[in-house]
Amino acid sequence: MPEQKLTGAQIVIKALKDQGVDIIFGYPGGAVLPIYDAIFQQNDIKHILVRHEQAAVHAAEGYARSTGKVGCVLVTSGPGATNAVTGLLDALCDSIPLVCLSGQVPTHLIGNDAFQEADTTGITRPCTKHNYLVKDVNQLARTMHEAFYVARSGRPGPVLIDIPKDVQFADGTYIPPTEVKHKTYRPQVKPEIARVEEAIELIANAKRPIFYTGGGVVNAGPIAAKLLTQFVKLTGFPITSTLMGLGAFPASETQWLGMLGMHGTYEANLAMYNCDVMINIGARFDDRVTGKLSEFAPGSKKIHVDIDPSSINKNVAVDIPIVGDAGAVLEDMIRIWKARQKRADQAALKEWWGQIDGWRARNCLNYNRTEAVIKPQYALERLREALRGKNHYVTTEVGQHQMWAAQFLPFDEPNRWMTSGGLGTMGYGLPAAIGAQLAHPDAIVVDVSGEASFLMNMQEIGTAVQYRAPVKIFILNNKYMGMVRQWQELLHGSRYSNSYSEALPDFVKLAESWGCVGLRATTVAEVDEVIEKMLAVTDRPCIVDIAVDPKENCFPMIPGGKAHNEILFGPEDSPSDATPEDGMVLV
């Protein structure tokens, strides 16, 4: 059979199709015109035109996190690529699988300071899991397939392929994914069984155990989440999760203690502090979770399951490290637990639950339920009730509203909750919501937003309108960069330096200028009605401006550098007298 020659641009499209890509988020420019031309001449892959390349990457993240598939991005050289950088790092920090294609100046001009030239592989090297510059069209197909493999395997992450324009025009040979095998990259999926057996013995003898799970369970897929639920129920142990792991274990179960960490619940943090056996599955001991390291779960033995060996013993030394995929490890754990007919120490567990129920009774998420002003927590409680039982996805921006959303919106399934955890990128939520909505056209997708974060990528309303993505932007408008204001209040003598949201637009009129629906609630009585109207809009985006209490702070809070048992519950607790200097320097 004669070898079929394709242009580089055609090879790109064919490889995308063979990798199962149905949507690509992008923005055109001189260095990618051949690829845009090839996109024009086919119908299998839908291109979504964003309004800013950063948003293309966040949209692909929302798509990826809500589907479990690899998200796909296309940007031009120079400013197109540099605009994408924040999104790439966001995906790297949160382990989101992406492939980003960037155009580059023709090979013979590389290094000449050509028009719209940037050292894209150099700039993105520390912001990607891996990246490539393809100088030979005959390496293009292989590189594309490798990139998808690297992006989704092991600990997922973003991969960038920089493609000079001449390579997009050149004729070359296509090879299908089946013919590509990576030379070096083989992450360990199956755990060492001896280690799992050791872990099971420790688990079975625990007196005050806790599961601490994270985004790795979501990365491992919905089956891993099912297995987690099964194992947690088998043991009867309490479970908490990081911000990134919410939904892997159903929040409606009684064993669920809520999120842990800086803004986690009292019961979750105290159970961590007092546990004797900690079972970490797919979480990375982030500083927002551990607090003061020397006082992190001081009396505990720790099991850590992670697919990335570099996550193990990085911040916290553990007793039983298990390298492997969360799903594979949980499967072995359940099998061995059953085969050895293990049963938790019921008497000890009963006592432990008694202690935990005492902490629960503190009702740490309680807030001042007033009729005078809309409390952000109240608005989210009403949103929660309105979404109950409906097929929905939630994204967030970054700030107080994000933490309240994590505290007040319950998730019973993985892949339903999308937030920027590791990088904490304001402006993530709206494009991510568009990505999730395009992947799930019939679902309700809500971006829980702050007025300041919304302004960071609000141009994407245009994208949502163009593709009739009926995303709901639920702005908890406190007229402040609330999270910044909160830290200034607690740690900088209430000197609110540059954290007031001055000169805000009229969000209702803004919505109307795009032909969207704009709604506003300024009194408690209006909240339900506005939510109901918002959910009724199904053919265009809807922006909701909820005027919430500008003074409300997010509690509980463990100030930087403090231990899990040093929790602030509300405005009556002041950290200033006790916040150590080494805590002040923490972000």
């Binding site: 592989t121 150099g122 090297r125 520390p126 899991k129 891996h130 990246n131 510059l133 690297v150 092991g154 600990r155 030379k183 070096t184 990259y185 990335d308 060996p309 570099s310 193990i312 013993n313 990085k314 030394a317």
Partner: protein, 168 residues
């Protein structure tokens, strides 16, 4: 005990592809690890494999983290901690230029002989010596030459290999 600083020699086998060295160096600078020396050259022409030898120091936890971070770079095939894995040989090569006349010149030549350094260039007023040895030997030699008219020294940094029959 936890915080004792250890010095480790690590050998890394990588695909010799563009950017691979930048990845390794970027890892060290980005994460604030020490590099005391780093050498690299292709060792397998057919498969385009390069071997990097690096000497680094840190607490046990940091050294373990360095190895894990190196290992997760996509073009990395293998990471070996030669310091941990038993006896190994470590060598450096140095070129050392010394200028002078009279007694100082004679003394330099005598010391070179003791250190088994070779003369690879000579003029009436200068020598270039070639020396291989451990880092400490090279340090000693350069230190002595500093008193006898050292002009410059160029060193390769450490290359290392485990002892015995087993390979990488």
């Amino acid at each position: 005990m936890e915080d004792k600083i250890e010095k480790h020699t690590i050998a890394v086998l990588v695909d010799n592809e563009p950017g691979v060295l930048a990845r390794v160096i970027g890892l060290f600078s980005g994460r604030g690890y020490n590099i005391e020396s780093l050498t690299v050259a292709e060792v397998n022409n057919a498969d385009h494999l390069s071997r990097i030898t690096l000497v680094t120091s840190g607490t046990r936890m940091v050294v373990e983290q360095i190895k894990a971070q190196l290992d997760r770079l996509v073009p990395v095939h293998k990471v070996h901690d030669l310091t941990d894995e038993g006896p190994s040989v470590e060598r450096e090569l140095a070129l050392v230029k010394v200028a002078g006349t009279g007694d100082r010149r004679i003394e330099a030549l005598r010391l070179a002989d003791i250190f088994k350094a070779k003369v690879v260039d000579a003029t009436l007023t200068s020598f270039v010596f070639e020396l291989t040895g451990t880092t400490a030997e090279v340090d000693d030699f350069v230190g002595l030459m500093a008193q006898l008219g050292l002009v410059e020294a160029s060193r390769t940094g450490v290359v290392a290999m485990s002892k015995g029959a087993a390979g990488f």
